[in-house]
């Protein structure tokens, strides 16, 4: 069957969703992980007194949850159907669909995390918060994490020692993204205007595009055989 790249991506995404819905326990497990991480944070901090800690904690939790969410990318043996489709589709379609899927998944997890943060830590430090900026940051941070980690997971999977190498290879690569997103969130909580947060926003977009371009160019080399 000769499908266009776009329809291949759509097809793969559809299959990913179906398998996700068939196994709801997977996402539920991630939410439980998130909940317990946050609960530990809540118990260990007397209270979160300033916006900087609030933002940093949000993203550190987000980072760890994202790494956990990558288990599916590392271990696709759960989904024999998908594996078969992967061999048929072109590699660029595979990487794009996977990136989109994980970006959406991580964004959903981060939204859960944000809601839990509001529940546990309250919004006392968020008096001046610009919600538009926070949501934008959440989306861009999640897509950046999703793209980079999907790629690293595919790489780690090929080494045959996926779970062990994933953290070692992945953490250093997300450092620039994390620095930028934490600063963006801190400034958003401090209530600065869009214009004065512009550099961070631009950097986030650039890092996203860079990760996507690199993943798009390099994935075919990883995938062949």
């Amino acid at each position: 069957m000769a499908l266009s790249l776009f329809s291949e991506i759509r097809l793969l995404l559809g299959k990913e969703w179906k398998s996700e819905f068939r196994r709801k326990d997977h996402f539920a497990a991630l939410v439980i992980y998130l909940l317990s991480t946050l609960f530990i944070c809540y118990l260990s901090f007397e209270k979160v007194a300033d916006g900087q800690t609030w933002g940093a904690l949000l993203w550190v939790t987000g980072l760890f949850t994202s790494f956990n969410a990558m288990h599916k990318a590392l271990d696709s043996s759960h989904h024999p159907q998908l594996l078969h489709l992967y061999t048929l589709a072109r590699p660029t379609a595979v990487i794009i669909s996977r990136c989109i899927y994980h970006a959406i998944q991580i964004a959903a997890l981060n939204v859960c995390s944000l809601l839990l943060f509001l529940l546990f830590f309250g919004d006392s430090v968020l008096g001046k918060l610009d919600w538009g900026q926070l949501i934008t940051g959440l989306v861009l941070g999640s897509t950046g994490l999703g793209i980079t980690l999907t790629f690293v997971a595919s790489l780690a999977q090929r080494t045959g020692n996926g779970v062990g190498l994933m953290a070692i290879l992945g953490f250093p690569l997300v450092i620039p993204l994390l620095i930028t997103i934490v600063k963006f969130t801190r400034l958003a909580i401090e209530g600065v205007t869009w214009a004065s947060n512009g550099y961070q926003l631009m950097l986030l977009v650039v890092l996203n595009v860079l990760a996507m371009v690199l993943a798009y160019l390099l994935f075919p080399y990883l995938w062949r055989e």
Binding site: F151, L155, R158, T159, G160, N161, G164, L165, I168, L169, F171, P172, L173, I175, P176, I179, T180, K183, Y199, Q200, L203, V206, L207, L210, L214, L218, Y221, L222, R224, E225
Partner: protein, 356 residues
Amino acid sequence: MKMHFGFKILCALLLMYVAIFAFLTPLSPALLQTDLSEIKPGEHSFTLTGYNTHFAEGNNALFLINDSTLSIPCTITEVMDNSHVRASVTMPNEIHSKAFAFVLNNQVDGTVFLESPMKVTDFTVNAELQSSQMPKFQHGEASFFSYPYQPIIMESIRNLMWHVPMWFTMFFLMIISLVQSITVLVKGQRDGDQTIVAINPALIRPHDNKAAMSAAVGMVFCILGLVTGSIWARFTWDAWWTKDPQLNGALAVFIVYSAYFILRNSIQQEENKWKLAAIYNIFACILMFVLLMVLPRFTEGLHPGKSGNPAFSQYDLDSSLRTIFYPATIGFILLGYWIYNIRLRILKIEQDHENL
């Protein structure tokens, strides 16, 4: 594979030149401090301390200038030695503003400054006030070939010749590594296009060796840059480690390349290793540029010239620094390339004899 002999000679000569002149070139004369802590209308007498100055060897003319519009002449009462002078000044009641600076003209040193060192009290501020004549800026023979004096950095400006070339060398070696990694992918791809046809090891292995060895030598320079930077930071910014984006970016680069070597060592099958290491290396090198060239420009830090060239644009203008700094950079790059070359040759012999 062997390096041309001229390279090695050039490298040795350049580094020798740098080692000598990084230490021998004097620092520009400057005024360090005064014991005058407060000025008000009336007469004051005080001591001025200079650094590398030649007070005893020329005629000194001292002024207290106010916003470069008002000049109050001081009388030099005693020249104690080359770096200490006693002087007195009679202050008028009216001043132009509260910003004062000492200006001392001397034939040997040229003009030296000391900006607003003291508290200003009891004056009437008159913005209209103006002197008919201001002290002229002079070039002295002592500042002809010398490093610029910077208040806190002082003599440690010479570290520019040791610390900064480490990063340039690292960049150079990592770029070699990047190019070789791309070659591994491109050549491997052309051969492996027909699904099962094996990659020709003789074609790919040399490039993989080059990528690995240049990154390994680059790591040495990265560590040296971090350690020297940390020592310099301790005596300039008063902390072994600071929140400077470039410093932390450099550490992140170190971690990224450590991960590259861990990745290399954790894969047994060679073809797989070449490909995966090359892919990760491309990511790592691009990240290095983001961390060291892009991020520092958008974050406030302690390194000079943060919004232009992130490394050294402030000193860039000074020709005396440049005449030592450029040779230092080239010399260290050649040295890095030399070490990389030797390690590459050793690795090749090792591999050849493993296969026998």
